[in-house]
Every structure is written in structure tokens, then in C-alpha cells.
């Protein structure tokens, strides 16, 4: 029963709980058992909240028994990236500097999950402060890709993507600043969505780059992702950058799954040289499939996308250098070097040097440089202009087509350790995903097969205009159905057993 339960989709789990066929507690136990069985090898979780999860599940069962009408995901377990504050539950952001910190408040996303009756299993591993594309930058050790334990699960939300791909949770929450949901979804063979910037509250999301960060769902099916998206999205007065407009009807779009007549643009600048052949092959197949489903596919040029990566590596570090200044050993978290004679200034510097990992330090210094007087205009200022150009490229493209598509990442999951001390190579993993963060538009990644050369998942990215979040779900659901017809089973079933 347990094994069967964990392989259900989130929608199915919610249905069997709602019908009384099983209980939320049973579903939760099945996932806690799975975690106990496999996570020593995967290392998706930094913290498993067994008691909290069971208490939440019991509460759902009790409320159901009392005749309360509960939401569409009530009783369904979820894995939450450790970048969201959880009241009383350790929140580390994958960093030593926050070791042991228990926030006195819940992030809005976390509160919405609780309000929806969802069961938070625990907090998942991540690249420290969400900086990275492999989850190797976690201070608590890397997470492994369930498809191949020697490979990275993507990042920075690699813990959540690996948890969902290894059936430790049907759903996961990640954050995407430059691709940190879509890239791990792609390399783990699952669905991951980055909502429109401002679509999901950032309150309680520990900031990496405030103008780019956005929370979003991981799931094994497009519908599950849409259900989770709908559960967490919507205006929050605590986040002034949150959009005060109705949430796009993503669930209906996922159920609609119809692309007949839809105009699909293939981004000329995202593909070709430097991309793994198997990735390009699966991408080409996806285009053919869309065509066969009635979509009108054309090629679209976004001439400034080539400048997205350098712009991102100026804007994100600049914001991070400021956002991470608060980790200074004065009010919470780690304090080292306080020998009673050192000054506050010295203790700050010593603690930060000890508490931050190499990538975080690199980015803090890069950002400090880009914002320095004398360099601001040349670096940060120019990057902000590129941001304008990228947005204009998107606007022009969306005048011609309804959605844009590209590979999600240039390669499949690379071996752990391969790029860890080669930042420029690591940064390339986000080549295709970054433009949507700079422009703030909606995007999603879904599995489109395995690359023949390494048998690892390939992701397809679907991008839509700001507040057009329903469109990627519609396209993804149509493709998912098309692939199910072709393959006869979900892609994840091809993953080796753990």
C-alpha cells in the first residue's frame, strides 16, 4: 500500500484522502517511510519534521471527519526548500551562517500551504542562499540526482526536485532566481514552474536577488504543478512587489491541454552550438510533437538574449551583496571570533568569512564591485539597461507568438564535482532560463525524454508573457499527454529503482 501511495499523483492522493479510502496520516507515513528508506542516499532533506507532519495530517483527518470542506490538496505532503522561513523549525538556506536559527514567523507561502491543509514533510537542501545550479554549494553536503547518484540534481532547488523525483514527496516548493526551479526540474525529469514575478509572495523567502527571486512548484505532473501553483499564488500585502490581480487560471489550463492553433515561437538564440546533442534531439522532437498537436511553430529572434547571462551575473550578485549583509553575527545565527577583545567589525568579518561558502563569497564580492562608485554605471547600470533590452525582446516576440520554447538547460545533469570550482562553466547551466527572470515573465520546464548519450532527462522550457502563467501549463499538459501516448508511461518510471 505504502509504495503504491507514494507513486500516486498529488491530485490522486488528495482524491483518495477525500474519499476516505485512506487517511492523510497514512499518506504522510508512507512518505516518511520512503524518506527513511532512500534519503540517506539522495540527501534531499536538511530537516524532516516527522512530528509536525503527522500533526498536520491528523488535523486534516479530524477536520474531514468533522465534515469540514477542505481544499483540493488537503492532506497532500510537500517538501519545502529551506529558503522559506518556518516558525519554530530550523531554516538554514543551506548555509553555516544560519545554523540553528529558528524563525519566529512563517513565510506567506508556508502559511498558504498550511492553510490549504498540506503536510510539510521537512526542509530541503539547496545551494547556499540559492546561489548555484547543482546543490553542491550547500554547507550540508550535496544532494544526488535520483536518476544517477553521481550526478547533480540541479540547483539551487535541487533538494526539492530530487525529493519529488525520488517519490519522497509528490510536490515540492522551490525558488527560481535564474532558473533554480526549471533547471533542477529538467535534470530530474519532473515539472517545475516559475510564476510571473510578483505572482507568488516573497514574504519569508530569504532573499538572494530580490528583483529576480520567485517561488514556484515542483511536481511529477503538469496538473499537480498547476494545483500547487494555484495554492501558493495571489496577492500578499506583506510583499509590495506582489501583483494585486486574479491568479491566472493555471489549473483549467492544465486540464485544457489543447494547443490547436496556438502560436509557438522557437527562440533562435537558445540552442545550437554548445548544447548537448541529445538535448537538441529531444527538443526537436518536442517541436515536432507540438506541430502534430496543431500548434503553429515558427522561429523567433530575441537578439539580446546573449547578454542575459552577463547581465544576470551583475544584477543578482549586486542585490545579494546587499541582501546578505544582514548576516553579521549580531542578532541571529553564527557568531565566531568573539573573544571579548575583538571589535564588532572584526567579529562580523570573521563570522562572515567562516559562515559563507566560496560561491556566496564570490558573488558578494562581485556585487560589491559592481555597485562601487566609479563602476556602478559601467556594470550595474549597464546590466539594468540590458534588462530593458531583454524585456523588449520578449515584448516583440509575444506580439508574434503566444509562447516561446527552448531547451531548459544546454546539458543533462553533469557529474558531481565537475564544475564546482569553475564558476563560468557552472553559470552556463542557466543560459536559457535567465531571460525570464530578468523580464519577470512566466516560464515552466517539463520532461521531454532522455538524452540517448547518457540516459538522463532533458527539459523543455515554455515561456509566456507576464501574467500569462496559464499558457505554459496548457502547452505542457498537451505535450505531457502526447508523450504519454508515445511512451505509454510517465518518464520517471524509467528511472532506476533506489
Amino acid at each position: 500500500m505504502g509504495t503504491d501511495l507514494i507513486r500516486l499523483t498529488a491530485a490522486e492522493m488528495a482524491a483518495v484522502i477525500a474519499s476516505g479510502e485512506t487517511s492523510a496520516v497514512e499518506v504522510t507515513r508512507a512518505h516518511l517511510d520512503r524518506i527513511a528508506a532512500v534519503d540517506a542516499r539522495v540527501h534531499a532533506f536538511l530537516q524532516v519534521d516527522t512530528e509536525g507532519a503527522l500533526a498536520a495530517a491528523r488535523s486534516v483527518d479530524e477536520r474531514r471527519a468533522a465534515g469540514e470542506l477542505l481544499g483540493p490538496l488537503a492532506g497532500v505532503p510537500i517538501a519545502v526548500k529551506d529558503v522559506f522561513t518556518t516558525k519554530g523549525l530550523p531554516t538554514t538556506c543551506g548555509s553555516r551562517i544560519l545554523e540553528g536559527w529558528r524563525p519566529p514567523y512563517d513565510a506567506t507561502v508556508v502559511r498558504r500551504l498550511r492553510d490549504a491543509g498540506m503536510v510539510i514533510l521537512g526542509k530541503t537542501n539547496m545551494d547556499e542562499f540559492a546561489m548555484g545550479s547543482s546543490t553542491e554549494n550547500s554547507a550540508y553536503g550535496p544532494t544526488r540526482n535520483p536518476w544517477n547518484l553521481d550526478r547533480i540534481p540541479g540547483g539551487s532547488s535541487g533538494g526539492s526536485s530530487a525529493a519529488v523525483a525520488s517519490y519522497q514527496a509528490p510536490l515540492g516548493i522551490g525558488t527560481d532566481t535564474g532558473g533554480s526551479i526549471r533547471q533542477p526540474a529538467a535534470v530530474c525529469g519532473i515539472v517545475g514552474g516559475k510564476p510571473t514575478y510578483g505572482g507568488v509572495s516573497r514574504y519569508g523567502l530569504v532573499a538572494f536577488a530580490s528583483s529576480l527571486d520567485q517561488a514556484g512548484p515542483f511536481a511529477r505532473t503538469v496538473l499537480d504543478a498547476a494545483l500547487l501553483h494555484a495554492a501558493i499564488a495571489g496577492h500578499d500585502p506583506a510583499d509590495t512587489t506582489s501583483i494585486d490581480a486574479p491568479v491566472p487560471s493555471v489549473v483549467e489550463a492544465a486540464r485544457g491541454a489543447d494547443v490547436a492553433g496556438l502560436r509557438v515561437g522557437v527562440v533562435k538564440e537558445l540552442g545550437g552550438e554548445g548544447y548537448q546533442p541529445g538535448v537538441l534531439r529531444r527538443f526537436a522532437e518536442a517541436i515536432e510533437l507540438l506541430d502534430s498537436l496543431g500548434a503553429k511553430v515558427t522561429e523567433v529572434s530575441c537578439p539580446h538574449f546573449g547578454y542575459a547571462l552577463p547581465a544576470y551575473y551583475l544584477i543578482a550578485p549586486s542585490e545579494c551583496s546587499s541582501n546578505l549583509a544582514r548576516f553579521d553575527a549580531m542578532r541571529y545565527g553564527l557568531r565566531t571570533g568573539d573573544d571579548g577583545t575583538s571589535s564588532a567589525e572584526e567579529v562580523m568579518a570573521v563570522t562572515r568569512a567562516a559562515g559563507f561558502g566560496a560561491e556566496v563569497k564570490r558573488r558578494i564580492m562581485l556585487g560589491t564591485y559592481a555597485l562601487s562608485s566609479g563602476y556602478y554605471d559601467a556594470y550595474y547600470g549597464s546590466a539594468q539597461k540590458v534588462r530593458t533590452l531583454i524585456s523588449r525582446d520578449f515584448q516583440a516576440a509575444f506580439e508574434q507568438v503566444d509562447v516561446l520554447v527552448s531547451p531548459t538547460t544546454p546539458t543533462t545533469a553533469f557529474p558531481i564535482g565537475e564544475r564546482v570550482d569553475d564558476p563560468m562553466a557552472m553559470y552556463l547551466a542557466d543560459l536559457c532560463t535567465i531571460p525570464s527572470n530578468l523580464a519577470g515573465n512566466a516560464a515552466l520546464s517539463l520532461p521531454c525524454g532522455l538524452a540517448p548519450e547518457d540516459n538522463l532527462p532533458v527539459g523543455l522550457q515554455v515561456m509566456a508573457p507576464v501574467l500569462g502563467d496559464d499558457r505554459p501549463y496548457r502547452v505542457a499538459a498537451a505535450l505531457e499527454a502526447g508523450y504519454a501516448d508515445r511512451w505509454g508511461h510517465p518518464l520517471l518510471e524509467e528511472a532506476p529503482a533506489l
Binding site: A344, A378, P423
Partner: protein, 97 residues
């Protein structure tokens, strides 16, 4: 060379990072490569292009001037490395800004 080792040391101070010589030796060339590479943004950042700081163009989002609950004192101080008399205890402070 886009950035010297001395400049990197200065950045470390400005960033409040007490980095050892080894770390500086390792970081300086990496930052040099990254900075040289990202400098490409200048190629297209023409004078007449307005910068974008916020991707979604909202303005005038305000909160009414109404009180909200504060943290309880023990909650406020719970995470502090050191506390004395209801205050955060911090090492001696060098200078006033």
C-alpha cells in the same frame, strides 16, 4: 586584467569578509575572469536605453498607518548569540558612522 589582487582585498574589507591570503589568491583570478566576461553588457547598454530596476511596473503600493502586533520580547531575542537586559549584546563598536 580587470581587477587586481589589491582591489579584491579591498572588496573583501568592504564586504566584511576576513579572507586569508590563500582565499584571496584563489578568488582574485576567478573574479578577474568573471568581471572580464560580464563586462560584455557594456556593448549594448546605449545611452538612450532606460534602466530597469523592477521587472513588473507597479507604483504607489502603500500600507495604512495602522499598528500590527510586535514580536514578544523572547521571540525577538531568541536567535541572538548574546543577550543582556533585553538587549542584543554585541562586541565593542569601533566608530560612529
Amino acid at each position: 586584467m580587470a581587477i587586481t589582487r589589491d582591489e579584491v582585498a579591498h572588496l573583501a574589507r568592504l564586504s566584511r569578509l576576513a579572507l586569508g591570503d590563500d582565499e584571496l589568491d584563489h578568488l582574485a583570478p576567478q573574479l578577474d575572469v568573471i568581471i572580464s566576461s560580464v563586462a560584455r553588457v557594456q556593448e549594448v547598454a546605449a545611452e538612450d536605453i532606460p534602466p530597469t530596476s523592477h521587472s513588473v511596473p507597479l507604483t504607489n503600493v502603500f500600507r495604512p498607518d495602522e499598528r500590527q502586533p510586535c514580536l514578544a520580547p523572547d521571540e525577538a531575542l531568541a536567535g541572538a548569540p548574546a543577550v543582556e537586559d533585553g538587549r542584543f549584546r554585541v562586541p565593542r563598536i569601533l566608530e560612529e558612522e
